[in-house]
Amino acid sequence: MSTKKLARGVALVGAGMSKFGAFKGKTSRDLFVEAFVEMLASVDKPFDPKSVDALYVGNYSSDLFENQGHTAPIMASWVGLTPIPAVRVEDACASAGVALREGILAIASGLCDIVVVGGVEKMTDLPTEKVTDTLATAADSQFEIPAGFTFPGFYAAMATSYMAAYGATPETFMKVGIKNHNHGSLNEKAQFGAKISTLMEVRKASAAKKGLPIPEWKDELEFLKDERANPIIAWPMRLYDCSPVSDGAAVVLLVSEELAAKFSDHPIFVAGVGQASDGALHDREELNSIPSARLAGQKAYEMAGIQPKDIDFAEVHDCFTIAEIIASEDLGFFEKGEGWKAAEAGETASSGKKPINLSGGLKSKGHPVGASGVGQVVEVWKQLRGQAGERQLPGKLKFGLTHNVGGTGQTCVVHIFERRD
């Protein structure tokens, strides 16, 4: 099959996000407004929001989280975009990444010139068990959930398959968490923007203050292996292997390539787009790789005309620590079975040769599920434009990649962004 290209080019000319976290008293629309306002401020040249042609909103389950359906027109109304078409896109945790692809296609088709794409989720109003049940509806409710699977459980099962095949240990996963918290400590938008070492010291100080015995953890790994500090959620995934329950929103502005210079001094171009679907986890040939991610990545690389080695940095879907290791292989950064060794060797840290999740990833930054895919793009926008502050990757950056997974890989969407100036 010949390589498919967009019928016309698309550029990213603005990006913003709310802080991610647990915000009592703020609903989806409040968070969406926050992200939208930051996006407006990020556009280099004067721009009239009334010129936008369409709005695409990624949202997983406002119906169950907030008892609110028909979310897209509400967002349009609250950010002053009505009466343009407003479309909600749902593909579980990949909702925003897929919404982005729809926005790109709308411009490439010629029907739209200027498109706003956002993602939003308000998860923390429900008690934890209801959040777990709501997330579980992204799996197969006939053949997976009745067996007793939960989302941490699915990824934990993938982890047992990966460990058995390649020799990784639960410690490997802990190291991914430590790395992402290190990255997130430099991100002011992160929900858990503290290093694991800091959290450990806080626990010690808290014990001292209460007059309790002070735990003797000698390092972060010892802290993470302590059941009291880091309880098992679904073995081998512990609390600090799991992304949190989060509220948040992210918004980007897309325009046709020929309009890019009218909006931006340093536009970022969409170089490659790939998306794929799949059945339930048990329906796949293998359990320690995500076929839809491999396929989505391959399509995006082909469209961009580049190789995995050309990617300067990536934001990948680390809903669980094992997912980041699998993603690093599915995207071709490392050979199959080698991703865990690269993670242990620090190759995916900001100082490594293939930095992954400079934002802190979903693990530290937070995972408002329907917003995460666009949240990743906000980081790529900042890094490629040299605006990532303390966590800015040095040197001239050209290609950044985002990898957004729905469920256990029933959906995966990959985007490659390019700075050309």
């Binding site: 934890t128 099962a157 993938m158 959620i233 995934m237």
Partner: protein
């Protein structure tokens, strides 16, 4: 009804403690869970096939934070359970509850372990529903 390859019929077989999938009469492809349509060739000419119940454990986890339905069965942090994916002798893989393994020592449970089908009954009388499980063979 027996010619409908639905979840309802599959469940009614489980209630008899039988594990049945579907088989394409044309090319013999086997599906568990049963499917009414063969995704490879779009054939809808299916028949039921009873599985031997033999398989191997391909992946597993011990769930400590249980969903509501499992909490109602008495599982929680103090009473975790094992769930996994089993590759059946006939080929297809399936998600299932895993019985009779040492959930408190998960590292003793091995990928590749031979398992056999078992069934769990929940509810009583008219409301009784059986679920698929496996246990070490």
């Amino acid at each position: 009804m027996e010619n409908e390859f639905t979840y309802a019929v599959y469940s009614s077989f489980l209630n008899e403690h039988k594990l049945l999938g579907s088989r394409d009469k044309k090319n013999g492809a086997v599906f568990l869970p049963p499917r009414p349509l063969n995704p490879q060739n779009y054939s809808v000419d299916m028949e039921w096939l009873e599985f031997s119940g033999k398989g191997t454990l391909e992946a597993y986890t011990i769930v400590y934070i249980a969903p509501t339905a499992m909490i109602e069965e008495g599982f929680d942090r103090k009473n975790p359970y094992c769930v996994g994916i089993v590759k059946t002798e006939e080929g297809p893989m399936v998600s299932a509850f895993i019985k009779d393994v040492d959930v408190l020592h998960p590292e003793t449970i091995k990928v590749g372990t031979a398992v056999k089908a078992s069934f769990i009954d929940r509810g009583e009388g008219e409301a009784r529903q059986s679920f698929l499980a496996f246990q070490p063979a």
